[in-house]
């Protein structure tokens, strides 16, 4: 890593956290506080103690995240501008989404999701084009497409949040309540995770693989919306009417997104390892990302996913203690979450304690995705239980 001595010193020689803050950090914090304060002033009478605590935590988390990874700042700004614009266009009339131009073609939630889908698919193709052509320009375009898609998707979710309230004050809820909505969340989180690692490792070579998982999610999403009409906003059943949904579901999807990303990197790893063994000078061996990089990011993704998944499972248990009679009922979804947790705990044990690396671990990451997919979708589709909110 080329870094100037001054940069290193600047990073390390100022022990005080407060001394290291810059003007930009201050402005960012101010921006987030202003947004959060506006939300507070508008909606505080309708929030219970827990929701206020969640808003407080989310505000701090957003400030921290934006400082830790600066591109989030631009992302948040873009999403905020588009969402507020959409809300302004809507006013109080939900039907405007069929007539107002900006809403109908860009900003209403389904339109935004269609933009998101198209952009993610384009990004997938562009990343692979960049990989094979080795053009930096095409690579930058791919990154820009991915960011744009994520902006549209996040905007869509926020607009959908408002739309649910436009349908009826008692119908409104955060859009993470059914399979359709969480699939969008999955796509967004996986994309953000990938963009983070792309930035940190300064490498676009993994993009195509990561975006493949997202494109898969997009394909499912489109079928689910057009084939099953699943995109309609439904009111929350009594069991889901809880502040826990706001934290348990997103935490779970950070886990799922990270595991999906790791699996796609595992696929890339295996392809590259095989290409290197067969023809070290061939196209694939030259063009695919190096195995060390893939291995490192795969490990980081699984570690992050595991931490998030642990948190999500614990939050789920705490929610169950409020809704279902106890923190653990051996419900199929709970049990499969345990299986997924054990699977990745084992993976991490082998990686950390025994130092195992290489192709077997990559295979394991790929198989882990199938276990995760079963816990995510299969349980809803094939097994019955208390968690059948997301059935097809």
């Amino acid at each position: 890593m080329a870094a100037t001595r001054e940069a290193m010193l600047e990073h390390w020689n100022q022990p005080s956290f407060w001394q290291r803050l810059t003007l930009r950090d201050g402005l960012w914090a101010l921006l987030v506080l202003v947004g959060s304060g506006t939300v507070w002033s508008l909606y505080q009478p309708y929030m219970d103690g827990y929701e206020i605590a969640i808003q407080f935590g989310a505000t701090l988390a957003l400030i921290g995240w934006g400082r830790y990874w600066p591109p989030v700042q631009g992302f948040t700004l873009a999403v905020a501008v588009l969402s507020v614009l959409a809300l302004w266009c809507y006013g109080a009339d939900y039907e405007l989404r069929k007539s107002a131009f900006l809403l109908k073609y860009v900003l209403e939630s389904q339109a935004a999701f269609m933009w998101m889908s198209a952009l993610y698919v384009l990004a997938t193709v562009t990343y692979f084009a960049a990989l094979f052509s080795r053009s930096a320009f095409i690579g930058k375009t791919a990154t820009a497409l991915t960011w744009s898609a994520t902006v549209m998707g996040m905007t869509g979710l926020l607009v959908r949040w408002r739309e649910s309230y436009l349908l009826g004050a008692d119908i409104g809820h955060i859009p993470v309540s059914n399979l359709y909505e969480v699939f969008i969340l999955f796509a967004l989180i996986t994309a953000l995770l990938y963009l983070f690692y792309e930035d940190r490792y300064r490498s676009r070579s993994m993009g195509g693989f990561a975006l493949l998982a997202i494109s898969g999610a997009v394909a499912f999403l489109l079928w689910y919306a057009f084939g099953r009409q699943a995109h309609h906003i439904q009111p929350l059943i009594p069991a889901l009417q809880s502040y826990w949904m706001k934290i348990h579901v997103p935490a779970n999807f950070i886990g799922y997104g990270a595991f999906a990303l790791a699996a796609m990197l595992g696929v890339a790893y295996l392809l590259r390892a095989r290409a290197e063994a067969r023809n070290p000078n061939g196209l694939l061996a030259r063009v695919l990302p190096p195995t060390e990089l893939l291995d490192d990011v795969m490990y980081k993704a699984i570690a992050l996913g595991f931490a998030a998944f642990t948190l999500a499972t614990i939050l789920g248990a705490l929610w169950a203690a409020e809704a279902w009679g106890g923190y653990w009922s051996w419900d199929p979804k709970e049990t499969w979450a345990l299986i997924v947790w054990l699977n990745y705990a084992a993976w991490l044990h082998l990686r950390l304690s025994k130092g195992r690396r290489g192709a077997p671990m990559a295979w394991w990451a790929v198989i882990g995705l199938f276990v995760t997919l079963f816990a995510f979708l299969g349980v809803n589709m094939f097994l019955s239980g208390l968690h059948s909110y997301g059935s097809l």
Binding site: H11, Q241, S242, A303, T310, A321, T335
Partner: protein, 702 residues
């Protein structure tokens, strides 16, 4: 720790199972047991067994009534699975034993690792040898002529302070060592995560069925398998308050009723757990969204507790996601059902000539003896009443989201003397399908099947009467004779008389067994090559005859048959035919029509007493803390080795990290630069690991 041996391996300082550096132990029984319980292979094997058993428990629906399992698997496999305990796999003795074993195994592992980890965290390793320093991935060396060793040491400690390190200085006479540790809480992460498993395991075992099992083994408790009420249950199936530290039980309370117990479902029966207070249900309400879906389930309850509340009961509202916690007992809104709604019904006989209905009054949950000459003694079990039936439209595609409220319904069973039952689902109000209106009555012979529906066409008065009178006519032998057999005159009296007989027979046959009876009869008497022709002929004659009977029914009603027979009557006739054809398979001697009701709802409450919850939540906190410590801190050690040699200060800087080698390489390089700046030296020392090292460290074991 003796001096001559290095105690840190360069690559990773992780603990492992060997007992390196300890004197050889005697192979005592205690040691052998410890080795066995702490064996990683054993733990992994057990975890795999637990995982497989858990997965089986998700695929095989748990805690279903035993008859369902017998139906599904047949008597042989049912018994096999029962012996293994697959119907309640998470509570079987072996599953609990394996979990307990895993807790023990983790405890042993932790017991063996704690001393080593503690030592790692607290010791600074100020006795490191120069050869060991050479083995570390990050190192740098300088020769500093004309320097005071003490001043250099101070510069070093100042640099360390700037980086937020903790250090200890040791003077070994001919050299000094400044040893640094940072991020030692990372090691705590390992401790916490594994301790968390133990704590959660203990809490889970506390809350499990262990106590009930113990009591059962001791003969103090027996599961009640008969269908008794709580009051009737004998003492051996009852638990007093506090008899076990944890349970989850259910009770269905009709509005206005009070209960001071709950039922614990266990295998094929139940236990009664008494509560130290009583719960009275004042009202239960279901609120709906505009779309017709349920919005909330709310129970208004009163808690009666003479000892703690005196005469003032505690009023509370229990909703989903908002349980009431009273004296450690958590009361949840679990489900709801019928609490004994009063029903007024009419039973229309289906196999007799007299169509007059019999008035029946009953209550949901009650049993009424009915019977007739043909059907024998039957019992009518009134199972359920529902006010709303929000169901998908009959012609909806999957995902169409078109729902319709089909109105109130009753569910009941007709059980014969042999104990076999058919289940029925009758809707109170007529339902419109394809533009016409029908009374729907569903029937099924087995609990798992879908209902088959009888569609009774509705007459001009919105009643099933016309159809039922039509049907009654077909069973009225003398009436039919009067209608169809008339004196013959004309050219072929024999033929005409035969034809009349045939028509009569066909109608009677149809009344017995529907179209199948006709085709069956044809197959029996007609040769194969004429079969098709004959069957068609029979059916046409039948249809025409039935039309004549139908006209007679209309005439009896007062309809002007010459003028008022049109589309509607035609449609009615066709629908009636379909229904009549289905009647032989209906299996009931009467059609039970719901005419009035008075709904009484019951709220299903779940009561949980969880002695282990606090323990488990502590475990959760430990787990989260441990996981984040393990993954987001790294344990770093650094050393500065100083000696005066030939008038110059020789300084060696070396370090290692247990995680994140790339980040550590960066940190080390920055430390080097800071130190160099303080000491007034060039940025990169001659003998340091160059920036090429970071790439090399990627290949290091983590």
């Amino acid at each position: 720790m003796s001096k001559g041996r290095p105690h840190l391996t360069p690559a990773n300082s992780f603990v492992n199972e060997t007992t390196l550096g300890k004197p050889l132990r005697q192979h005592t029984l205690g040691w052998a047991l410890l080795e066995f319980f702490g064996s990683m292979n054993l733990a992994i094997t057990l975890l795999v067994v637990v995982a497989v058993a858990s997965i089986i428990g998700t695929v095989l629906q748990q805690n279903q009534p035993y008859p369902d399992y017998i139906l599904k698997f047949g008597p042989f496999w049912f018994t096999v699975f029962n012996q293994i305990g697959l119907y309640d796999v998470y509570s079987t003795g072996w599953f609990i034993a394996i979990l307990a074993f895993l807790v023990l195994s983790t405890s042993v592992c932790l017991y063996r690792q704690v001393p080593g980890i503690w030592r790692e965290m607290t010791r600074f390793r100020t006795n490191v040898q120069i050869d060991s320093l050479r083995g570390f991935p990050q190192q740098a060396e300088w020769r500093l002529p004309d320097r005071d060793s003490a001043v250099v040491q101070e510069d070093i400690t100042n640099a360390f302070r700037g980086f937020g390190y903790r250090w200890r200085v040791q003077d070994h006479g001919d050299h000094q060592i400044v040893a640094v540790t940072k991020g030692r809480y990372n090691r705590l992460g390992y401790l916490f995560t594994h301790a968390a498993i133990i704590v959660i395991g203990i809490g889970g075992l506390l809350d499990g069925n262990l106590w009930i099992k113990l009591k059962e083994w001791r003969g103090e408790l027996a599961v009640e398998t008969r269908d008794l009420s709580a009051r009737e249950t004998p003492p051996i199936s009852r638990l007093t308050p506090g008899a076990i530290p944890a349970f989850r039980g259910n009770v269905r309370l009709p509005e206005g009723a009070t209960a001071n117990f709950v039922f614990l479902r266990l295998r094929d029966g139940f236990l009664v757990q008494e509560l130290p207070f009583a719960i009275e249900l004042k009202t239960f309400q279901v609120a709906y969204y505009d779309t017709g879906q349920p919005k909330s389930y709310t129970s208004e309850v009163l808690i009666h507790d003479q000892e703690h509340l005196g005469d003032q009961p505690l009023a509370a509202t229990i909703r989903v996601n908002h349980p009431l916690v009273y004296r450690g007992y958590a009361i949840y809104q679990s489900d709801f059902g019928d609490g004994g709604s009063k029903l007024e019904m009419k039973a229309w006989p289906l196999a007799t000539a007299r169509p007059e209905p019999v008035e029946v009054k009953g209550e949901v949950g009650g049993v009424i003896k009915v019977g007739g000459p043909k059907a024998g003694a039957l019992s009518l079990e009134l199972d359920d009443f529902r006010l709303f039936n929000l169901l998908p439209e009959p012609d909806a595609q999957p995902g169409d989201r078109k729902f319709r409220n089909f109105g109130p319904s009753i569910g009941f069973k007709l059980r014969d003397a042999a104990g076999e039952a058919r289940e029925y689902l009758n809707y109170m109000a007529p339902v419109q399908m394809e533009g016409r209106w029908f009374y729907l009555s569903g029937v099924r012979a087995r609990p798992g099947e879908a209902f088959s529906y009888l569609h009774i066409p509705v007459d001009a008065n919105n009643s099933p009467e016309r159809f039922l009178r039509f049907n009654a006519r077909l069973h009225d032998a003398s009436g039919l004779e009067k209608l169809l057999i008339s004196p013959v005159d004309g050219e072929h009296p024999d033929f005409q008389r035969d034809l009349q007989r045939v028509r009569l027979n066909l109608v009677e046959l149809f009344a017995q067994g529907g179209f199948m009876a006709i085709t069956g009869k044809a197959r029996a008497v007609v040769p194969a090559e004429r079969l098709q022709e004959a069957t068609t002929l029979y059916l046409n004659i039948l249809r025409e005859t039935l039309a004549e009977v139908f006209v007679a029914v209309l005439r009896e009603e007062g309809v002007n048959v010459e003028q008022e027979l049109g589309e509607r009557e035609n449609a009615f006739f066709n629908d009636a035919l379909s229904a009549l054809a289905a009647l032989p398979a209906y299996g009931s001697p009467f059609y039970l029509q719901l005419t009035g009701f008075q709904q009484v709802q019951a709220s299903g409450l779940q009561v949980t007493y969880s002695g282990g919850a606090v323990v488990v939540y502590t475990g959760f906190a430990l787990l989260i803390l441990g996981v984040f410590l393990m993954f987001y801190t790294s344990f770093r050690r650094l050393w500065a080795w100083l000696a005066v040699e030939d008038g110059a200060v020789r300084l060696i800087l070396a370090g290692t990290s247990n995680r994140r080698p790339v980040e550590f390489a960066r940190e080390f390089a920055a430390l080097q630069a800071a130190l160099a700046q303080r000491l007034g030296l060039p940025a990169i020392s001659p003998a340091s690991s160059s920036p090429a090292a970071p790439a090399a460290t990627l290949k290091e074991a983590h």
